[in-house]
Subunit: 379 residues, 2 copies
């Protein structure tokens, strides 16, 4: 076994609220009880000042490091950053990752049982926002008796949560790492999410969200294929697949997957349906579309005045879904407020996915930043 692994982990559960005392969502709707599934790695120190909250992206979950079973083929999604001696060093920090509400991995979402009916919510689950996800995490952080998060970190939609935490609970966030993210989705990114949602809701198996068993697997697969293209850079696609044929030297003149890229995308699409719920895909992409710091907090420069956390922004050179310019815009707003901010654009061919796969490039940046935060006297 990997000496740098956090090893075997067991997800934990936390529930708050009831139908009588529900959580009020940004939409005005209510949700209760709210279940949160989460994992922790490392140990809290005496005053619980070493807690780091990790926020996951669209298709991630609370299983960020280690494994659930000695025979697991895969580790948690950010195992290359979380562990002894890694970027988020579990010998020093108490690292926590919770499944977002709206998701499908154990926290409350459209697949959860609606206490009012005894059936799965389906589309009766209220729409949630990034703010609502953060609010649920706040309940968990309070439950864990963490006075202030040493750091909060995440990539992509995880970065949205990092930003929202820093704006909503500035006093409870000591430092923040926002990776491959933005203050709001671009129109193009909303457009791609629109296609994904349309593919799902146009699948007759979707049945207005009241599917059982398999559900709209074909629509969800199509949605994932679109997503996948946006997560990878054109360079990487060229280098990895080019115009290679999957299993022949000659063109076969039929409609099966013939180019390697076709085969890859179709496989990725189908595989995704085995591990993700179509309704959750609708809810989470909608939450991403809604996220907009300017709508919620005003122009970036004014909005960021409330931030007290020391910030690190990271972008990737070939990320076209969350391009570097979007990080720079936030860095400028931090600087305009005289806030402590670091920024690095990491050179990579991997596109948006770089924050997940280019572990070696990310590790020293995170470790160094956290070291600096630790040395800093609290303001």
């Amino acid at each position: 076994m990997d000496r740098n692994s956090v090893g075997l982990v067991t997800p934990k559960r936390f529930t708050f609220g009831t139908p009588q005392t529900p959580m009020t969502l940004e939409s005005g709707h209510h949700l209760g009880p709210v279940e949160i599934v989460y994992e922790t790695y490392g140990q809290p120190n005496e005053d619980r000042s070493n807690a780091i909250l990790i926020c996951h992206a669209l298709s991630g979950d609370h299983h960020a490091a280690g494994y659930h079973n000695p025979h697991d083929r895969y580790t948690g999604w950010w195992d290359n950053q979380i562990g002894p001696g890694k970027g988020f060093d579990t010998d020093q920090y108490w690292v926590i990752c919770a499944n977002i509400i709206g998701g499908c991995k154990g926290s409350s979402g459209p697949g959860s049982i609606n206490p009012a009916t005894g059936q799965a919510y389906g589309l009766d689950f209220p729409l949630v926002t990034i703010g609502d996800m953060v609010e649920a995490q706040k309940h968990l952080v309070d439950h864990l008796e963490i006075p202030t998060l040493f750091c909060i970190a995440g990539g992509s939609m995880g970065g949205f949560q990092v930003l929202e935490w820093s704006l909503r609970y500035p006093q409870q966030v000591r430092s923040a790492i926002c990776i491959a993210s933005a203050s709001r989705l671009s129109t193009q990114a909303i457009a791609f999410n629109t296609v994904g949602r349309s593919a799902i809701t146009r699948d007759p198996e979707w049945r207005e969200g009241r599917y059982s068993d398999k559900g709209p697997e074909k629509g969800l697969a199509t949605a994932r294929m679109v997503g996948h293209i946006t997560y990878l850079s054109e360079m990487l696609l060229d280098a990895k697949f080019g115009r290679k044929l999957q299993s022949a030297d000659r063109l076969s003149y039929h409609f099966d997957s013939e180019f390697a890229i076709e085969s890859y995308l179709n496989h990725k699409g189908s595989a995704f349906t085995q591990r993700f719920d179509a309704n959750s895909y609708l809810y989470i992409t909608k939450a991403m579309d809604y996220f907009d710091i300017q709508r919620s907090y005003g122009p970036l420069r004014e909005a960021f005045a409330r931030i007290t956390a020391r910030f690190l922004f990271i972008s990737y050179s070939s990320d076209w879904l969350f391009p570097t310019a979007q990080s720079r815009e936030m860095v400028r707003a931090m600087l305009a407020n005289g806030r402590p901010v670091s920024f690095i654009e990491i050179g990579s061919h991997y596109g948006h996915d770089a924050f997940l796969v280019e572990g070696d490039k990310l590790r020293p940046v995170i470790a160094g930043f956290l070291q600096g935060v630790g040395r800093q006297v609290r303001p």
Copy 2:
């Protein structure tokens, strides 16, 4: 009525081949009879040396200019370039545009009747290539007794046909205009086509291509939505839609089209199903994926040695589906062969669609190039 319009036009039909004397396709399969629907604008001169063949793109057709009915809401797709005094000046040139085979607007395609069964071909229609489309056009050009095309022009997949003509029948092409195109599709472009085809073939209404009436409208709509995003630049999406809501100032927290971009894409997707056939979408995107000058003719520099046409390449600054670099690569291969070549990258925010919508920018470039060709003594 527009004084610069070619006015009322009537499509013409040309048929060649029979089940007994079919056309042999690149795949080795046979097709016959082959029907071609086409339009002409302007008049041939005495020796028919003023013919210009226009090649259309994926969702285009033979109706390139003018109108079919005085009450038509729309003109042909390149009406801003074809007409008296326009880029392709119909006072000087005899302009011809034919629907590609594999299409759905009258030329032989998967919706045509299979003489062997008396039913629509469906997937029994053989796969066609850009080379096959050109071969069919060659029959038409010979039928029209055109010894040499004064020019052949097209954008996007139309540019593929321009290149293929120039390589396959170099002596019959005097000049060529290849717009927003490439010597082969990028991996990313194949990936987007793959998503489109998957959306169609995963629609249960597709029925292995044997649908009647409506067919896989939902899958086709999704395919078109994906395509649409790739045709527009991110800049244009931001400027035109941004994060505007369709019909309210406040978020409505439901899954209907809420952002203007959602509404636009869903509308574009649905509208497309009224005018295009899903099987044709499969055949034509597949032909695009297959197009690869290097596979057919060897490395570009060697391949282009056979070209004798005077060439004009045009790209658009914000086109990310067929980026300028792909045009430059071809220009370099022409130059390496000492071939006469002109190149311009036109600044535009419209992305790939610029060749269709930015008529004013394109017109003088085309007119000037054709004037130069006319002045040139034939080699």
